[in-house]
Amino acid sequence: MGIRVTDISKSYKNVKALKGITFDVKEGELFGLIGPDGAGKTTLFRILTTLLFSDEGEATVAGYDVVLDYKDIRQSVGYMPGKFSLYQDLTVEENLNFFATIFGTTIEENYDLIKDIYIQIEPFKKRRAGQLSGGMKQKLALSCALIHKPKVLFLDEPTTGVDPVSRKEFWEMLKRLQKKGITILVSTPYMDEAALCDRIALIQDGGILEIDTPESIVHKFPKALYNIGANNMYQLIRSLNNYEHLYSVYPFGEFVHYADKRPAFNIADLAQYLDAQGLKSFSIEPTKPTIEDTFMELAKK
């Protein structure tokens, strides 16, 4: 009853946007599609919201077929496209009223569902949507997508271009909506947001790399991982790249994440090597892989 996607493919002219994607979203689940720009997330959303036909494969949303029952889907899903898509020249209240009307409902009727989101922007209800800050726009867009009590909510990169405070609040809101029984499919390029979903699909170049819970996904990283820091980042990366036992090295903020080919890795060996390379005040410490580490590991193959 949530979402079922079977072997969906889609090409534009000469680009394969989706290459045989299959996954299920259970009813009431908060499911994340995690991947960079151009991975095919938006195309998938458009197929599921009946805006595009797929070339191959089948999909159902809330039990309705995306091709045959497109009218039913349009009645029962909420959709927030990647770009802020409300009327900038209409006020907050007018936007919400408009979307309520075209879905054949009123703000009052479903107020309980949007209440804790809308209450935050209600003081600005006479302000034009174009003059809202990024975070407020996003809250308004979510309110509009929810106004008709959808069974399934599609959110295409809702947090892109939004500051960290608003991002955090946004995810808290999603968690609360999920408790009200709404199935949510959300996409994001931010790996750190993946941890907040029930299950995630890592997606790149139109294909799914892995589907699982965030906790299980990080366990799929095949090696032990180390945080290495040093006085000169550039030299550190160069030296590690030349190290004969290197499995992978990626900069991660002020450190690099390093994995070694050998099953029995000796920190002292590496320390000696780095010292010989002229690096100073370096540190080598074991660390836990993140979703991003797993993503890169899977994407390499």
Partner: protein
């Protein structure tokens, strides 16, 4: 129905909050009609002319007096030799020279014909034409007065005939054209822009993924502009009646009905344009290049269709504006009724149905 009304309400918000579209909607019609009425005109006033009078007799004097008494001409100089004509033109001020032949009066009485040569500066052919026409009608007037008093049958030398616009007021011929352009522009361009704007903003995506039906979206887009275009048409007619003293000979009701028909045809064209353009910019370009230019050039608004080459005449038939201009000229200037205009009206109705059919067929319920 509630959905539909909600949609229309939203459209009005858009229109009234966008200064640019408000200006196009209401500023432009007024500006255009005043521009065409006052500035771009075929009328002449106080044009400087020169006289070369070889006979200097009573008749020539009388004609010269008549001409200089009219508000159209000022006699700037008298010249005495043919050789000076070119000089007079080169100095630049004069637009025409009247050359009376020798023994003008004598010839007029003896042979019942005399020749007056009108030499005009054709660098501006329109003005030259008008000057010639005006002088001719003054001469005709003179002949008539002569004939009546002396009861002799003089031959009419210059032959001109002006009907329907006896005062030769060019604003009268421009009003139907300007009205056509404005209705077309406002209706077609504004609807196509307002639909493509939703595509550009991404709101079309949300509308598609909602229970509102495509035809509700289209009709919802169209209704406000029918309303505004009708207001525009009324403003234009009022302006032409009260500022330019243009007579409306035929039925105002018929004029209104035909205007609504043309507005609907233009709106349908606008929707058709929006189905083939993805951005507001494209919609605007297609509206301007595809609609404005043909309307100005091929509808008979500025260049008479009868003097166009055959292929262009054929093309002019498929331009809705051409038929509308025929219709409103008929109603406003000739005062004819529907029995004379049914053919044009039927053609317009046919075109409207075709455009609506095409846009419904082309309108996408998905993004591709």
């Amino acid at each position: 129905m509630k959905r539909f009304i909600g949609f229309i309400k939203k459209e009005f918000y858009h229109i009234f909050r966008d200064k640019r579209s408000l200006f196009i909607l209401f500023g432009m019609p007024i500006a255009q009609i005043l521009l065409f009425g006052f500035a771009i005109t075929n009328e002449i006033n106080n044009v400087d002319i020169a006289i070369l009078d070889h006979s200097k007799d009573a008749s020539t004097q009388e004609i010269i007096n008549k001409i200089s008494a009219s508000k159209y001409f000022t006699i700037e100089q008298f010249i005495t030799r043919e050789a000076d004509i070119e000089d007079a033109f080169k100095k630049g001020k004069i637009k025409a020279v009247l050359n009376f032949e020798k023994d003008f009066s004598k010839n007029l009485i003896k042979e019942q014909r005399a020749t007056l040569q009108i030499i005009s500066d054709a660098t501006d052919p329109n003005t030259a034409n008008t000057i010639t026409n005006y002088i001719s009608s003054i001469l005709k007037n003179y002949e008539q007065s002569k004939n009546r008093s002396i009861e002799l049958d003089y031959q009419v030398i210059p032959e001109t005939r002006m009907v329907y616009n006896p005062e030769l007021k060019s604003v009268f011929t421009f009003v139907p054209g300007v009205m056509t352009i404005i209705l077309m522009l406002v209706s077609a361009m504004m609807t196509s822009i307002s639909i493509t704007r939703e595509k550009e903003l991404g709101t079309m995506e949300i509308l598609l993924v909602s229970p509102i039906k495509p035809f509700q979206v289209i009709i919802g887009k169209v209704v406000p502009y029918i309303f505004l275009s009708v207001i525009n048409a009324i403003v234009i007619v009022i302006l032409s009646i009260f500022i330019f003293k243009m007579p409306v000979q035929g039925s105002l009701f018929l004029l209104g009905a035909e205007s609504v028909l043309f507005i609907i045809a233009s709106l349908a064209l606008g929707i058709l344009i929006s189905t083939i353009s993805e951005t507001q910019q494209t919609a605007m370009m297609i509206s301007l290049m595809g609609l404005m230019l043909p309307v100005i050039l091929l509808s008979g608004f500025i260049f008479p269709i009868s003097s166009m080459p055959e292929p262009l005449q054929v093309i002019s038939h498929i331009i809705p504006a051409k038929w509308f201009i025929v219709i409103i000229k008929g109603i406003m200037l000739k005062g004819v009724d529907i029995s004379f205009l049914w053919k044009e009206s039927v053609i317009l109705i046919g075109m409207t149905i075709l455009f609506i059919g095409l846009s419904i067929k082309k309108y996408k319920i998905r993004l591709e």
